[in-house]
Subunit: 182 residues, 2 copies
Amino acid sequence: MKDLSEKTIGTQRIYEGNIFTVRKDEAQMPDGLIAEREVVEHRGGVGIALEDEDGKFFMVTQYRYAQKCVTLEFPAGKKEVGEDPLTTAKREIAEETGYEGTDWFYLGKMFPTPAYDSEVIDLYYAKKGAFIGQHLDEDENLNVSRYSLREIEDMITDGKIPDAKTMGMALLIRTNKERGRI
Amino acid sequence: MKDLSEKTIGTQRIYEGNIFTVRKDEAQMPDGLIAEREVVEHRGGVGIALEDEDGKFFMVTQYRYAQKCVTLEFPAGKKEVGEDPLTTAKREIAEETGYEGTDWFYLGKMFPTPAYDSEVIDLYYAKKGAFIGQHLDEDENLNVSRYSLREIEDMITDGKIPDAKTMGMALLIRTNKERGRI
C-alpha cells in the first residue's frame, strides 16, 4: 500500500473563536507536492443514547443555526477544555433530559467532517437512571421526546433525521445489540 | 411545542477560504436573548455507495489531514459551485474508483456538523457500471478496496471506521435493502 501521509511544513493562525479556531497549513504530500490545507479546530464533543425501561431513546428537538432549521437528534454536547468525554456525557445527558445515565457503554468515536475539521465526537450508550431535573445553558432551547430504535431508523430512512451523529449512533446501537454487548 | 427559531440580526465576515468560509453572526433567540453564532460555510458534497456484482462496496483509504490519520471511507467529494449533487456523485465515483455507476438511488441528505457548519452531504447508492479509468485530482492520493456491508458494519462496530458519512450510509444501505428499495 502507498504511503499516504502528509507533513506540515508551515502554519498560519486565521481565527480564534469561541466554538472553533481556524488555521491554514502548507502540507507536503508523499510525492513532494505542496498543498494548502485549511483546518477548523474544534475541541470535540459527545453524543449520548439514553434508553428507558420501555426501550425508548431520549431525543432532543432544537434549532440548528448553521442549518437554519429545527432538527431531531440524540442529546449531545461540547467538551469543556481538557475534560474527559465520559464526564461531558454524564453532565450533558442530565442537563438536557433531566435524567442520570447508568450502565455506561462506549459506542466509539466519530469524525463528523474529517476532510477539514479536527472535531471528534465520543459516542455513548447508557440506561435511564434517577430523575434529577433538566438544566439548560442560557442560550440553549430544546424539547425532549422519546422514540424506539425502529422509529428512529424509520425517520432516518425517510430523510427526517439528517444529523450525522444520530445516524451513526443508530447503527451502533443496533449492531451492538445484535452482538449482545448492550 | 415551543418556538425554537433564531433570527439573524447582525453578521460579520471572518475568513474567505478555498474549502470553507467563516462568519460570526448575532442571533436573537425566541425569548429575546442575543447570542453569538459562529458559522463555517461549506458548499456541500456527496457520498457514494457503489455496489459490485458480488455485493461488495468500493471504499477508499486516504490521509485525512485535519485528523492526522488514514481513514477508510465510502468515496466522496465536494460539489463544484452551483453543481447538482447527482452530477458531482457521477463524476466523483468515476474519478476515485474508475467505474461508472448505474441504477442511481438517493439515500438522503446528511448534516455532518449542524451545530456550527452549513455543510450538507447528499448520499447516493449505485450499482457498478462500466470501467472507464481512475482519474484523481493532483493533491489527492488514495487506495481503493471492496468490502461487504457486513464487513463494513463489523469495522464500524469495532471502531475502525470513525467517518460519520460512512456510518450513516451503512445504516441507510441496510434499512433501504430491508425495505426492498435497493
